[in-house]
Structures are given as C-alpha cells and as structure tokens.
Symmetry: C2
Subunit: 170 residues, 2 copies
C-alpha cells in the first residue's frame, strides 16, 4: 500500500477525536503491519470501494471504547453493549468518511461498519495488501488505526496529495 494514502485517515482520526470527543490523540508509533493482529478489544471495520479497494480498522481498548461511547451518547457506559458497539461503528464511519472526502480522486465509497469484539480477535488483511498500522494514545487509553488499500491499475500513476509521507506532527 502506498504510504501517503494513510495521512488522510490519520488526520481524520485526529480531527474526529478532537472535535467529536474533545479528546486529542497522540501518535505513538507506526508499523507496516506484519502480524496482522487487531491491537485492542473492540475493532470497527469498514470496507472501501472505488478506484482503490480495501478497508479501515479502528481498534480501541475497552476503556477508550467505553469513554468514547459515553461522550457521544452523553450517558455513562460501563459495559460493552449494543449502544457502545454502535458508537464505535459510528466513530469508524466518521474516520472513513473524513478520509474519503480528502481522497476524492479515488472516488471512495464506504460500506456499513461491522464491529468486532473479543479479547483474542485478530483482523487479517489479504496477504497481497500490506496494511499500515498507526498506534495512538489519549487520556482514556490506547487505540490504533489500520488501513489497507489496493489501487485499481488505472490509478497506479496518480499521486495522492503531495506531503511528506506520514511526517506530519501529531
């Protein structure tokens, strides 16, 4: 996957957490994912189609999922229930939607979010796609964002917005 495609997703995550949740996130590390394991207990997955196809996975620790849902729903949530899962799905949708708007040359469409739970769950991408994982932390705990996209052949020569790859400050 071309690394510069990750920046719009990263910016969208940062903006979503800042504006919707009033909880800025800080980037802690970036990996070209090899072990293909969702990093946390609750993962929102959204498929992407268009001139690139793939998926975005927003993986939240239990604490981040509960606090984010509590903030979105204006109600204290203390267990992972359907409302919390819907909130995580909606957060994933916001992140994907924000990135989609920046990547208009790829004419992306987003599917509905599926939310995966289970302490031992892993979310794998096809082995011909190398997803990029970015790890973040915030006052509520840890989270990660993973994006895997494959360009249609007609888009191979198209540049994403010119910027230093993944070099923006957090």
């Amino acid at each position: 996957m071309r690394a510069e495609l990750i920046n719009p997703f990263m910016r969208s995550l940062q903006k979503t957490f800042t504006t919707m949740l009033n909880c800025p996130v800080r980037r802690t590390s970036l990996t070209v994912k090899e072990d293909c394991r969702a990093c946390h207990e609750v993962s929102g997955v959204i498929g992407l189609t268009g001139k690139a196809v793939g998926a975005v996975v927003l993986s939240l620790s239990r604490e981040v999922a509960l606090k984010a849902a509590s903030t979105l729903l204006c109600t204290e949530m203390s267990e992972i229930n359907d409302d919390v899962l819907d909130a995580v799905g909606e957060l994933t949708n916001m992140v994907a939607g924000g990135a989609k708007a920046e990547l208009e040359e790829f004419q992306l469409a987003v599917s509905l979010p599926n939310v995966i739970t289970g302490k031992q769950h892993e979310v794998h991408f096809p082995s011909n796609v190398t997803p990029i994982s970015i790890h973040f932390t915030c006052d509520w705990g840890d989270l990660s964002l993973e994006v895997g996209l494959a360009l249609l052949p007609s888009m191979e020569g198209i540049s994403a917005p010119r910027e230093q790859l993944l070099g923006q400050s957090t």
Copy 2:
C-alpha cells in the same frame, strides 16, 4: 433488511462450495439475527457499497476452513495460517461476487475481504440493520452466512427478483 436480498448470497455460497470445492452445503436453519455473534472460529467479512450498503460475513468452523483451504490450494493444511486466511477471504469474495452479479440493479461494489479469527470473536452489525443469518452444514462441518444490507432511499421501491422468499430448496 429485505429478506429477498439474501437469496442471491445463499445461491452464490451453494454454487461456490459445489463448483470450487466439490463439497455441497445443506441449509440447516435461518435466523433473523439478534445476538449478532459470528458463529464459528474464522469469519470472512466483505463490505458492500452501491445503491445498498452493508456487509457479508462468511463464518466457518475450523474444520471447514482447513478443508476448504486444502482443496483450493491443493495442499493439506493442518493449521490456520496466512494461506488458510487468504483462502477464506477468497471464498468470501467469490460468494459476494456471485451475489453482486445477480443483484445488478443495486450496482454493488465489494471491498477487500478481512478475515477475523479468534474463538470468542463476535461480528456485530449496526443496530439499525437487521442481518439475516443462514446456517449450513457440509461433509466437513458447519458454516454460516450472514448478510446485512441497507437500501438507499431511492431503492426502497425496487423489487429484487421475484421468488419465494428464502423458499428455494437446498
């Protein structure tokens, strides 16, 4: 979700297992899913976009995943490794692709497959979508297919192909 939309997915699964794996499947039960739990250990998830949005989840028992991968790869697989996960992703892709071809009025596009592993994993749909789950069995073991689709408002009045809902013989 409109029940008649499930038929193309069911037919596609049956055709894929018969023609690609030489392993016919038999339908055992159908549920309008309420507990939102993936039924088996390995689940392929593909997002769908177009005039309907949603996802399809193909959930396989460990035994079915291993046997299906062994057949597709012409190599005996005895553990869930990347090759097996890719094979499950490709099976999910075939099922989604076959259904997409039948549902051309919805102009569906499919994302890349993500494959979820973990004995305790659950795959949830948004609570405003009621996915339909169909359970199957075959000589290798059990599997299930789950489809959740939401129509765009412009498609609410469009009929899917006329047929008895879910009434086809297995």
